[in-house]
């Protein structure tokens, strides 16, 4: 449960918090974004892990069917203040029906079912190798699903791509060398049935100032913005971006999301894959968490955090009764270090009341919200534990 390996580029701000590090046993995010845990596992962590695994196994079948539907209903009811797509929702733009992609024995994508609706801003979140890129490739008709069906605007993805209704930027997409940025954007603009003016695209992508430079002489961040320009140079209804801000520095990233905001404000649907959780949290009004090719969670950032047991309760008890603590309502994870108890809870109020009702008078009570980062790690680690895989961290 606790061996998360290397972290996901944590910003540090909503990481584990340095105060916990002093207790030694509790893992936290260091400044370098690495998740650290003590090597020694205590019984309670193991217990908790087993509980999670059991919970998860029981839930698992239902997870994909009932839970999904329930999540979805909740999703529609929930207010979408988080992302910049707001709450505009329309016709299905993309549907995946039980889509799998197998490479020999490897299941890169395994029974993915989801739909995107017009006007949504959706983040596809997962560690490297989770199946994000393969899913996007299939969506964009670059690869064919082994099983299942994908529809874009109610039609074969291929048709949507050829009719210019989708603009895309992939990590693996290259640029034509030996031409200037402007020439390249002009070329791709000409290919669109419904083009944006070239000047508008250059401005929106923030590449006007180096439009006359040669494409093969740009920095990584500049190249990334040119690719983005190629994704938005037509008036596409859906924009698909795979790790759009990779290779961008902080300032460029901010500019990027600002221009993205303008795109979405025009009513476009946006699907982006990322492993920057901060971006998913801030930009998306819906997050799809995938791990090892399967959809683990689907909801607003708030729902995802809640689902993972997104509050941490820290308190000091003079007498620690471990079996009692393990039976607390809402408990997801428990760690005890002498008299300091750390509880990760789905319902921190209920957990705290139960402790008080049992006659305890804990001191130094702290309740902190876990960020999306921890929620994500908890969800994927749960999944890995349930499937008997140690989470290996990022694998490139």
């Amino acid at each position: 449960m606790s061996q998360y390996g290397t972290g996901y580029g944590a910003s540090g701000s909503d990481g584990g918090g340095p105060e916990y590090d002093t207790h030694g046993r509790y893992g936290g995010y260091g400044r370098d974004g690495e998740y650290r845990t003590q090597a020694g596992q205590d019984d309670y962590q193991d217990h908790a892990a087993i509980r999670l695994a059991a919970d998860h196994a029981a839930d698992h079948a239902a997870d994909h069917a009932a839970d999904h539907a329930a999540d979805h209903a909740a999703d529609h009811a929930a207010d979408h203040a988080a992302g910049f797509g707001g709450s505009r929702r329309g016709a299905p733009v993309v549907t995946f029906e039980n889509v799998s992609k197998h490479y020999g024995r490897l299941r890169a994508v395994d029974g993915l079912t989801l739909d995107l609706r017009a006007g949504e801003t959706v983040a596809l979140l997962g560690p490297n190798g989770a199946g994000k890129s393969t899913s996007l490739d299939m969506l964009l008709a670059l690869r064919k699903p082994t099983i299942g069906r994908i529809r874009m605007f109610g039609d074969e993805p291929h048709h949507a791509v050829k009719s210019g209704r989708v603009g895309a930027m992939l990590q693996s997409g290259g640029l034509m060398p030996e031409v200037t940025v402007r020439e390249l954007v002009e070329l791709v603009t000409k290919l669109h049935p419904n083009p944006e003016p070239v000047a508008t695209t250059l401005k929106r992508a923030g590449i006007a100032q180096f439009a006359d430079q040669r494409v093969d002489r740009l920095s990584g961040g500049q190249t990334q913005r040119v690719r983005f320009a190629l994704a938005i140079c037509g008036k596409s209804e859906l924009i698909v971006l795979d790790e759009p801000t990779a290779a961008m520095d902080v300032e460029t990233r901010r500019l990027f999301w600002n221009s993205m905001k303008e795109e979405v404000a025009q009513g476009r649907t946006l699907l982006f894959a990322t492993h920057y959780l901060e971006e998913a949290d801030q930009a998306a009004d819906r997050i799809l968490v995938i791990n090892r090719g399967r959809l683990l969670a689907d909801g607003t950032p708030a729902e995802i955090k809640e689902r993972a047991g997104a509050k941490r309760l820290s308190l000091r008890l003079d007498q620690v009764d471990e079996p009692f603590l393990l039976g607390l309502p809402g408990l997801v994870n428990l760690e005890v270090r002498r008299h300091v108890v750390q509880i990760q809870s789905r319902d921190s109020d209920a957990t705290l009341y139960a402790i008080l009702d049992a006659g305890y008078r804990p001191r130094e009570i702290e309740v902190t919200s876990l960020g999306l980062e921890q929620a994500f790690l908890a969800i994927t680690a749960e999944d890995d534990a349930a499937n008997g895989h140690a989470y290996a961290g990022e694998t490139n």
Partner: protein
């Protein structure tokens, strides 16, 4: 189609800046022709050496232009993801390959025109007016079919393997096809099946008397079929990795 033409125009614009292309397709045959055409007094394939060598060098420049540069570029552009990027645009799926072939129609022209002009004004090749376009078009066709082979090689091999593969093909077709020197005996008995030999022989037969064995143009068309088939298989089988 408008999109394909836009891409073709962009490709041609790139090519104008490409020095390598001019060295291989134009400079090489021109220099060789200037050095050698007048210093050999024998005849070849029944015509003056200057006449034979004009056709051979025009073919040499044009076919290396269609093969070498294209294969390398296609492989590089596949690796870098440009082909993939194009597949995300409304361009038809085959547009990239069609463009490469269309561009080759143009890139083989300078070598042919320049070497034929050299033949006329430096190599003392005097022909009836109608024979010039017949020879030019034959070489042009014979060379451009190598664009299809370049597509096959470029899709099939990564950039670091393209060079040895194309050089092998290039040397085989240049040498046993009789582009560097006229072939006879055993070499000709194999070489006569190559498209390079067929194109050159059509040319020299036209100079000689205007009667061309029907097997030669048929041979060229068969090679076109073979190269297109190889290209089709290479493009289809790599569809998911592009």
């Amino acid at each position: 189609m408008a999109g394909t033409l836009a891409l073709t125009k962009a490709e041609l614009r790139r090519l104008v800046h490409n020095k390598r292309y001019f060295i291989f397709t134009v400079a090489f045959p021109v220099v060789l022709y200037l050095l050698i055409a007048r210093s050999v007094t024998k005849t070849a394939y029944g015509v003056s050496f200057g006449g034979y060598y004009m056709i051979a060098m025009a073919m040499f420049g044009a076919f290396s232009g269609a093969l070498n540069g294209n294969a390398q570029r296609i492989s590089q552009e596949k690796k870098e993801g440009w082909i993939r990027q194009l597949r995300l645009t409304p361009l038809p799926a085959n547009a990239y390959v069609v463009t490469k072939v269309l561009v080759s129609f143009a890139t083989t022209v300078p070598a042919i025109v320049i070497v034929l002009l050299l033949g006329r004004f430096y190599g003392n090749v005097h022909l009836p007016g109608w024979e010039w376009p017949v020879i030019g078009v034959t070489i042009w066709f014979g060379a451009t079919i190598f664009a299809a082979l370049a597509v096959a090689v470029g899709y099939r091999f990564p950039p670091d393997q393209v060079q040895p593969v194309t050089l092998t093909v290039y040397f085989i077709f240049a040498i046993i096809g009789g582009l560097w020197f006229p072939v006879g005996g055993f070499l000709e008995s194999i070489g006569k099946f190559t498209p390079t030999y067929e194109a050159v022989k059509i040319g020299t037969d036209v100079i000689q008397g205007g009667s061309v064995p029907v097997g030669l143009p048929i041979g060229l068309v068969i090679w076109l079929g073979i190269f297109v088939a190889l290209a089709t298989v290479a493009v289809r089988s790599t569809a998911e990795t592009v």
